[in-house]
């Protein structure tokens, strides 16, 4: 069964014929026209629109832009390639977690540590310990001038070391490998540190420095306050490893050496920097490299 559809135009013609009188009457209406002022205005507007000077196209603009894009793309590609070649290995990343362990210790672990630790007696009930702190450093063996404690306690500027700011990129790997975190030391260690009193404060004042320096110095444990509880300030003993085979190893402390490596990195002397890193690791085998340096380790 097919539906028969009439030609619409014929249909309209028929409709118009049917309403011929009406259409006739419409056509008899006054033939209104726009006013002369409208004609003038519109024609003037149309003329003005095409008389405007066309936008001058600069023929060199497109090739120039293309060339600039190519150069930029090549630069980015080269930087990416360079970054891929100096990608840090997995081992130093794991070390980074150890350095940051205090900050990242999950609350549940902290809670467990608190529960298993005897609560400290309020400060008021410990007169000796509270009164002692100023004299406590006197009781402790005085650090050698080149030792970690002396480095830590003196401002970095005095030693002519310029440290790079501790950037957020140093924490980039946080949260990826939580299982590699080292559990926090018992809070009792912190309690012991109370006895050392102000000696702990310079350490916290230069956290980025101390994390690397502290682990390199052959200081006895328990002298550096909170950072010790994190396991960072382990007794490393530079003297028990292989002797440094370079002259700088004999002359520079770990922190100065690190500073020198940073300068090399800033100067983009990466090859020399890597050499220095290797030498530093030989000289201080247990040293935890700062992350900004560790990423250049190969």
């Amino acid at each position: 069964m097919t539906s028969h559809r009439a030609d619409p135009d014929l249909e309209i013609e028929a409709l118009q014929l049917q309403h011929a009188a009406l259409i006739e009457r419409y056509r008899a209406l006054p033939a209104a026209e726009p006013g002369a002022h409208l004609d003038t205005a519109i024609l003037k507007q149309a003329a003005l629109a095409v008389q405007r000077p066309p936008l001058r196209r600069r023929p060199w603009l497109v090739p120039m832009a293309s060339a600039a894009s190519l150069v930029a793309a090549a630069g980015i590609g080269w930087r990416v390639h360079l970054a891929n070649t100096v990608e840090p290995s997995a081992a130093p990343r794991a070390e980074r977690y150890q350095v940051l362990e205090v900050e990242l210790n999950p609350p549940s672990e902290r809670q467990r540590a608190v529960e298993t630790t005897v609560l400290p007696v309020p400060a008021a009930e410990l007169p000796k310990r509270v009164d002692a702190p100023r004299s406590a450093p006197a009781a402790a063996p005085k650090p050698a001038p080149d030792s970690l404690e002396s480095i830590v306690q003196s401002p970095a500027k005095d030693r002519g070391i310029e440290f790079e700011p501790h950037t957020q990129s140093d924490h980039a790997g946080i949260g990826q490998l939580p299982e590699q975190r080292v559990p926090a030391a018992p809070l009792a260690a912190e309690e012991d540190d109370l006895a050392t009193g102000p000696a702990a404060s310079p350490v916290t004042a230069f956290p980025a420095v101390t994390n690397s320096v502290q682990s390199a110095a052959p200081l006895p444990a328990g002298k550096l306050g909170k950072t010790e509880a994190s396991g960072v300030g382990r007794e490393l003993g530079a003297s028990n490893g292989e002797k440094a085979d370079t002259e700088s190893a004999q002359k520079l402390s770990a922190s100065e050496w690190i500073g020198r490596i940073r300068v090399l990195i800033r100067q983009r002397r990466l090859h020399q920097a890597r050499k220095e890193i290797r030498a530093l690791q030989i000289a201080y085998p247990e040293l935890i490299l700062p992350t900004d340096i560790a990423r250049y380790q190969r």
């Binding site: 135009d9 009406l22 009457r25 726009p34 004609d39 003329a47």
Partner: protein, 173 residues
């Protein structure tokens, strides 16, 4: 239009001369107010001028022009319903006076007929009035009416049929 887009002002003048009357009447009979019709008329041509480089060859110029006018009508001016006022009566009277030449009875009859037709047009729904005007005033076929008003062919046809029927009944023709 393509010639005008390339900078030929004369081409625009020819286009304008060809379409000014029908476009103006379409607008005037849609809004039934001369001031609004003037404004719409100028706006329509302004848009044509501004869009000269975007004109597509495959579109018929009349359809394109009326499409712009129809959009302007829908956008702003149709919110005010067209009304038969003293102005349209004056227009009707002016025409009747010109045509009838000193025959007062016929002048009055024709004036009255024109006025009634304008009133009937104003009473039509917008879409039906548009369909009627596009067909009778601008001479568009059903396809073009459908394109200008943005509806299907059958809808356009049906609107035109309703408009004719309503006007016929209203004017008792």
């Amino acid at each position: 239009m393509l010639a005008y887009a390339h900078g030929e002002t004369r081409a625009f003048e020819a286009l304008y001369a060809r379409h000014r009357g029908t476009l103006y009447r379409f607008l005037l009979r849609s809004v039934a107010r001369r001031d609004l019709a003037d404004e719409l008329f100028q706006d329509t041509w302004t848009r044509v001028i501004a869009a000269r480089t975007r004109y597509r060859v495959d579109a018929k110029f009349t359809t394109w022009l009326l499409q712009i006018a129809q959009h302007l009508l829908i956008d702003g001016y149709r919110r005010q319903r067209p009304e038969v006022n003293g102005e349209s009566a004056e227009l009707a009277l002016q025409f009747a006076a010109d045509a009838a030449e000193d025959r007062p009875d016929q002048v009055l009859t024709e004036f009255e007929q024109a006025r009634r037709l304008q009133q009937a047009l104003a009473e039509l729904p917008d879409d039906q009035r548009s369909a009627f005007l596009l067909r009778v005033e601008n001479g568009l076929d059903i396809e073009a009416i459908a394109e200008v008003t943005g509806v299907g062919r059958e809808t356009a046809k049906s609107r035109l049929r309703y408009a004719l029927e309503k006007l016929r009944l209203r004017l008792a023709l």
